[in-house]
Symmetry: C2
DNA sequence: CGTAAAATTGAGCTGTCTCAATCAATGTGG
DNA sequence: CCACATTGATTGAGACAGCTCAATTTTACG
């Protein structure tokens, strides 16, 4: 494990431009978490940088009025928050969606090897920038698109991200989200999520069964995503 | 100017933890732009990093369907996009709101001095992280808040950011935004912006005159911002 | 197997939108 | 510096997307 830990995870993370030749930081042993738990509370001081190894998680903002907004779904290989590499504060809560496993890396150790390995530095930077772009895209969707457009884009977004990780089977993939997750992610009611997914299903755009989603009509889904 | 350029701008940027003792990168001469122009088109390759010196700008996403979302208002001293320091692509368009002035820094030169000056590195990193937090906050507002909450929060947000730059007079400040800017920023119609601002004005929460905004009842505005 | 959580469906309501008309402010050329 | 043209703001009426509340069915889980 020593000297391999981060390397593996970062390559899993799709950061394959990274090929460290020297020592790399090691993680503590992996942590397992059951589905549907709060892993981190939000506004916590953290001196480690957690990376998801298996399962799905979400980062989520809890508002004083009881509402909540999911800011991102976290997929295997991704940092829980790449900002943690640079600042020791986790701003939002993190919940597990499925059963999952993550590893903690020591931030100080990580930062040292960042400066030592330029390609690692680039890999991390591009992960920070990607995270920012995803959030920009979320804001655009929430500000300008209809419920149907948002649902369609969420599905396509997950499909694309899972594709690059080899986690799809053609146009089908594991889809562990509850409709409440979707609702909190795209800013509409669970009831309305059900309506929209119902339309999509009845009109033959998608098929959902056994926590698995199939894109039955990609073109139509893409057209819906323009709304 | 030589050796002073970036230093000044970065201190203007509120990054006052920065106190470089050696050489610092220099900017090209400042560019002036009239109000209401497109400064950058979006999806452009850029090998400079622009920093706003005077005036207000906004970064804005143009959707194929004609709609647009303002992702951030850019105030004097701020980077147009801090991601540009690390990647040579500007993802979204930038428009001038008022007449303004900005400076271009050479990215390569900037990066070199980043690595040479650790406190400069920290300053830049915290500006990247701040930008991310602002976007997260935008997504939360768009996903979970009513029109009134969004308008109230936008006003408070601008007031806070201008305060740290000494650009307020008590609870009044220059407010060059048109209602269409507000509409595009918070994802509602210009018509509805007018309605909400009208309510706020009639109920004595704010006063607007001569492109200047006064927070007349801060507590009430903060309560409205909870919605 | 039983209980809790999630999804579906329906009825009625409301916040925000669209369209449109009017009025005020801002900018421009003669 | 005025007259006109353009852009921005206000107001109203009607429409609709998405919400709330609630009842029922289905699925998941200990």
């Amino acid at each position: 494990m020593r000297g391999l830990g981060l390397c593996c995870v970062l390559i899993e993370a799709g950061l394959d431009q990274l090929r460290p030749n020297g020592q790399t930081p090691v993680s503590q042993s992996p942590e397992k978490v059951p589905a549907r738990r709060t892993i981190f509370r939000g506004n916590e001081d953290m001196d480690t940088v957690p990376v998801l190894c298996e399962g799905w998680a979400a980062s989520i903002a809890n508002l004083p009025n009881g509402r909540q907004q999911i800011l991102s779904f976290i997929l295997p290989g991704e940092f829980v928050s790449s900002a943690l590499i640079f600042q020791p504060v986790l701003h939002y809560a993190v919940i597990s969606i499925t059963e999952l496993c993550y590893r903690n890396f020591d931030r100080m150790e990580l930062r040292k090897s960042l400066l030592a390995h330029p390609d690692m530095f680039e890999a991390i930077v591009s992960s920070v920038v990607n995270e920012k772009r995803q959030t920009d895209q979320l804001a655009i969707d929430l500000g300008q698109r209809t419920a149907q457009g948002r649902v369609a884009r969420l599905i396509l977004n997950l499909w694309n991200r899972l594709s690059t990780r080899g986690m799809v089977r053609g146009r089908s993939f594991d889809f562990p989200l509850r409709q409440t997750h979707i609702a909190d992610a795209i800013g509409i009611t669970p009831v309305h999520v059900s309506n929209v997914l119902g339309e999509f299903r009845r009109s033959g755009v998608i098929e959902i069964a056994d926590r698995s989603l199939k894109i039955a009509d990609l073109e139509r889904l893409q057209r819906l995503a323009e709304q």
